[in-house]
């Protein structure tokens, strides 16, 4: 079985999204400090402290999702064992 058209769209979409994120974040964190503070490019980026706050919030959210998922799965397992 080969990857279908939908698989290819989803996969290449993931690749494109990660490349975009990498480029934007690299410019934000690595390049911006070397650009003058009154340059137009600063209009397209949030203040610098958010470059750490936003990933932190995203990481917390992901950990919460994983934790909830594990919790729900173990809870369901335990309940179905009791029913047996």
């Amino acid at each position: 079985m080969e990857a279908t058209g939908a698989d290819q769209v989803v996969g290449l979409g993931l690749v494109a999204f990660s490349l975009m994120l990498f480029t934007y974040y690299t410019i934000w964190v690595i390049v911006l400090p070397f650009v003058d503070t009154d340059h137009v490019i600063h209009m397209y980026f949030l203040p610098r402290e958010y470059s750490v706050i936003l990933p932190g919030v995203a990481a917390l959210f992901l950990l919460l999702c994983v934790g909830t998922f594990i919790g729900v799965v173990t809870w369901k397992n335990r309940r179905s064992k009791k029913l047996d």
Binding site: M1, A3, D7, L14, F17, S18, P33, R48
Partner: protein
């Protein structure tokens, strides 16, 4: 040297370099731009690793395929093993 030790050594090396630049422990009088770039570097490395992982998963999703040669090879090996075990007196 085990893989774990290698990684610990690498991580501690990067961590020490980061601490030296960010907190200016050696009093190097670095320009403030250096500090500005240095302090979010751990988060930046984490984000880059996440991007790489996401891209790898996406690429594999786009190009996954059956491994027919490997399947044939494995089936041949199973057959071979069964014959060998039969010769040695195992009932299947």
């Amino acid at each position: 040297m085990t893989k774990l030790l290698e990684w610990l050594l690498g991580v501690s090396f990067v961590g020490i370099a980061w601490g030296l630049v960010t907190f200016d422990l050696l009093d190097l009088q670095l320009p403030s731009v250096c500090k500005e770039v240095a302090w979010p570097i751990p988060v930046y490395l984490l984000v880059v690793f996440g991007c790489y992982s996401l891209a790898t998963v996406g690429y594999r999703v786009a190009t996954f395929n059956d491994c027919e040669d490997a399947a044939k090879e494995l089936q041949a090996q199973i057959k071979e093993a069964k014959e060998d075990l039969k010769q040695k007196g195992l009932k299947m």
